[in-house]
Every structure is written in structure tokens, then in C-alpha cells.
């Protein structure tokens, strides 16, 4: 890989004595879509959240876009904000700001974080609402929207800051299947537009169709990775085979 846009080296994350992520290294190319799968407790969320430092690794190096940080000493506030500005994150529970309209949810961070004027921010917001097919919801409050709509707003909110990479932590797990489809279709469009994406998901069909690479985690480590047709259809480890078989049976 010539020029990874995200590069993790020797990442370790501990909760007390629990070693949640063990010496993980991972390079992701610009425009690549990576699906991260694995059993509950494998450390997928923890690793994903280390990329924007919502979790603080004990050691390792983190490179995102123009930033490279050695993690064995604490990051300064300015570096931390700059890192987070260049990543977008979408959560399982959407986490919209319920006391703000959809428009303000998307425009406010642009104004505060990027210093855009209200007019400029609202213009970007309008364009993004078109993109997630919710142009008519600008003045609605989140509580009035379906889960699928809320998640698409959350995606628009993250995109509004022009991130270099989008991080998704089980974006459809809290949704009914048909509402999940709306969200997956927006993500598919995003991938087609060339966005770099790391997606923790149990949606194997989505991973198979959209991902360039599938990463399987277990016990805080990457145990297998490769193109979806190989990892999903012909996994090499018995453990991975068992994992995919269990998921397929559930569906």
C-alpha cells in the first residue's frame, strides 16, 4: 500500500487488567472500504474508537490523514481536536442532539469547528440533506424522525465537516431491517463516491457487497483479513468459519 490514509501500529488498549486490543496494526488506503466483523467483546468498537481517540491507547502510533501521533504520551488538546476534525463517526445509537432541529444538528458543528458562517453552513447542510434523501426534514426535531432517518442525519452531520475517513460502529444494529436498508443504501452511495470507510458491522451481505476488505477480530486481535469473497466464503481459520456460519444461520 503506497500511502495509507489511516495507519495503526502496535496499538494496545487496556481497561484495568483487561487487554481489550492487543498490539494491532492496520493500514487503510484512501478510498478503501473496510468491514470489521467478529464476536461480541472482540474489541471492534474499542479499536474503532481509538482511531479518533475516544479511547486512549496505552501505546502505539496512530496516523490519520496529515497527523501522526505516538500514543505513549498524552495528546495535546489541539492535536486531539485536529485529529477528530479529520474523522467522522457514526454511532449505533445515532446520538443526535435532541434539542436542536435537524438543520442545527448539522450546521452548528460546522460553525463551531470549522468556523463557517451560518449561511455557508446551512448551504452545506441543505446539500447533504439532499444526499441522504431527507431534504424535507431540515426543520424537524430528531424525536419526530424514524431511527433510519435519524441515522442518515447523523451521517450527514459527520460528512458536513469534510472528514478524510468515516468510522461506523454498527450503524444499523439499533434499526428494524427495512430502516437499516435505507442507511446501508446511503453508505453504499458514500462508498461509491470514494469515501474511506471503516465499518464495524454484523451485516455480512453488506460487507460482502461493499467492502474492499474484511477484517475479522477476536480477543483483541485481527485474526484474519482479506477480500470479502475470500474471508467470508473461504475463511482459513476454523474460528472464522464458525463465526460466519453462526451469523448466516441467524439470518
Amino acid at each position: 500500500m503506497t500511502d495509507p490514509i489511516v495507519s495503526l501500529k502496535g496499538i494496545n488498549i487496556r481497561y484495568g487488567t483487561h487487554h481489550a486490543v492487543r498490539d494491532v496494526s492496520l493500514d487503510i488506503a484512501k478510498g478503501e472500504v473496510v468491514a470489521m466483523v467478529g464476536p461480541s467483546g472482540a474489541g471492534k468498537s474499542t479499536l474503532l474508537r481509538a482511531i479518533n481517540m475516544l479511547e486512549t491507547p496505552a501505546s502505539g502510533t496512530l496516523h490519520v490523514g496529515d497527523f501522526t501521533f505516538a500514543l505513549d504520551r498524552p495528546l495535546g488538546q489541539k492535536d486531539l481536536l485536529a485529529l477528530r476534525r479529520s474523522t467522522g463517526m457514526v454511532f449505533q445509537q445515532f446520538n443526535l442532539f435532541p434539542h436542536m432541529t435537524v438543520q442545527r444538528n448539522i450546521s452548528l458543528p460546522q460553525m463551531r469547528v470549522l468556523g463557517r458562517s451560518r449561511e455557508e453552513a446551512d448551504r452545506v447542510t441543505a446539500r447533504l440533506l439532499e444526499r441522504v434523501h431527507l431534504a424535507d426534514k431540515a426543520q424537524a426535531y430528531p424525536a419526530r424522525l424514524s431511527g433510519g432517518q435519524q441515522q442518515r442525519i447523523a451521517i450527514a452531520r459527520a460528512l458536513a465537516l469534510d472528514p478524510q475517513v468515516m468510522l461506523f460502529d454498527e450503524p444499523t444494529s439499533a434499526l428494524d431491517p427495512e430502516l437499516g436498508l435505507e442507511v446501508l443504501s446511503v453508505m453504499r452511495e458514500l462508498a461509491a463516491d470514494g469515501m474511506t470507510m471503516i465499518v464495524v458491522t454484523h451485516e455480512i451481505a453488506f460487507a460482502a457487497e461493499v467492502a474492499d476488505r474484511v477484517i475479522v477480530m477476536a480477543d483483541g486481535q485481527i485474526i484474519e483479513e482479506g477480500p470479502p469473497e475470500q474471508v467470508i466464503r473461504n475463511p482459513s481459520l476454523p474460528r472464522t468459519q464458525k463465526f460466519f456460519r453462526a451469523i448466516l444461520e441467524r439470518h
Binding site: N52, L54, Q77, L81, A82, R84, R85, T87, G88, M89, F91, Q93, N95, L96, F97, P98, H99, L108, P109, R112, V113, A143, A154, R157, A158, L161
Partner: protein, 219 residues
């Protein structure tokens, strides 16, 4: 019975003037005490111990000390520290301190009720800690606290009666004055009680409505 009603009719204008002062005291106590309560709420959940411990101490003392003691301390204590305030201002400040101590706990509970996921969303967006507080946490924390704050406003309105001990001519003080002049203490105190109720009952009803509306609005 007609005697009672004529007396009440005679006394009512006096008592209503007193009510005006009671309401002013309440207004001052809330206007000064709520912002201070918010500051204490934020300081007492601050990370730095230099901010946290003094705030916690102030809140505990303010809540632990009876409002009457705070009142007397401000009224008699500040002059001996070289600060001479009118009775009204002393009363307002004392009630504001009590308000700050109590509402800081109410506001802190409201702030803690803001889901951590929204704070994380703000962090992930690259918002500063101050911006997350200002735009995400405080507005919602305050909204969550509104019903309890309104309930507290009723209590502090009732507590204004304590200021009769420092000769502020509020509702209860005026009732006592009339009682002393007529020896009809019970009659005038009943009227005073009714005037208090005429404020607290409708307001309490508003509190319940606010709580219910809030419940249905933010889900």
C-alpha cells in the same frame, strides 16, 4: 362571619403589598441564585480538585445550614465585616445563596442526565469541551431540571417568610403587624395563608404541566 370578611377586605391591600415584596425577594433570589447554582453545578463536577472541592464545600454548607441561619448570618454578619446592606438586599442575598446551593444539585442531576453518547458525538465532531458544555450539555441539563427548579421556586417563595425576622415588610411580617394591632392573629394568619396558597397552587399546577410536556417532548 361578616366581621371576618370585612376585616379580611380591610387587610387584604396590606397583605398584597407584602406579597409584592415576597415575590420580589423570590425573583431576586432566583435571578442571583440560579446562575450561581449553575456555576457551582459545573464546578462541583469539574475535573480539577481546585475547582471541585471548594464548590462541593459551598454546596454542602449552603444545603446543610438552615435558611434562617444563612439569613441571620448575612444580615448580622456582613455589617461586622464592614459591609452595610439594606434588610431587603441582605434577605435577597441570603435567599440567593440558599437557592444556589440547592439548585446546583438540581442542575447537576439534570446535567448528568444528558446521555454520554451525545457528549461523545460532540467529541467525535471535534467540538471543544467548552462548546460541548455550552451547546449540548447545559441547554439540555437545564431543560431536564426545569420541573424540579419550578418546585424549588415554590419552596424559596415560601422561605421568603423567614425574612420577617429581619424586618422586611413582606407578606408574613405585615400579617404579624396587623395581628399585633388587632389581636386577631389567627384571622390574619389564615388570610396570609390563603394568599400564599393563591400563588403556590396555580404555580404547582404549572410545574406538573411543565413536567408532563417535557416528558413527551424529549424522548
Amino acid at each position: 362571619m361578616t366581621d371576618l370578611l370585612t376585616n379580611w377586605a380591610d387587610w387584604l391591600p396590606q397583605l398584597l403589598k407584602g406579597l409584592g415584596i415576597s415575590l420580589q425577594l423570590t425573583g431576586f433570589a432566583l435571578a442571583l441564585g440560579l446562575p450561581l447554582g449553575l456555576v457551582l453545578a459545573l464546578a462541583s463536577s469539574a475535573r480539577g480538585p481546585a475547582l471541585r472541592w471548594p464548590a462541593i464545600a459551598l454546596v454542602e454548607i449552603g444545603r446543610g445550614a438552615p435558611a434562617l441561619v444563612v439569613l441571620q448570618m448575612v444580615y448580622y454578619g456582613l455589617p461586622s465585616a464592614g459591609l452595610n446592606l439594606s434588610a431587603f438586599l441582605s434577605g435577597a442575598i441570603a435567599l440567593a445563596l440558599t437557592t444556589a446551593a440547592y439548585t446546583s444539585e438540581i442542575l447537576r442531576a439534570g446535567i448528568n442526565a444528558v446521555p454520554q453518547g451525545e457528549v461523545e458525538a460532540g467529541q467525535a465532531l471535534g467540538m471543544t469541551r467548552q462548546d460541548i458544555l455550552r451547546f449540548v450539555v447545559i441547554p439540555q441539563g437545564v431543560i431536564f431540571a426545569v420541573p424540579a427548579l419550578m418546585g424549588f421556586a415554590i419552596l424559596i417563595f415560601q422561605a421568603t417568610a423567614l425574612t420577617f425576622t429581619i424586618a422586611i415588610p413582606e407578606l408574613l411580617a405585615r400579617a404579624y403587624r396587623i395581628g399585633a394591632a388587632t389581636y386577631l392573629y389567627l384571622d390574619v394568619l389564615i388570610l396570609a395563608g390563603l394568599v400564599y396558597l393563591a400563588v403556590t397552587i396555580p404555580f404547582g399546577w404549572l410545574v406538573n404541566r411543565a413536567a408532563r410536556r417535557l416528558g413527551s417532548h424529549l424522548g
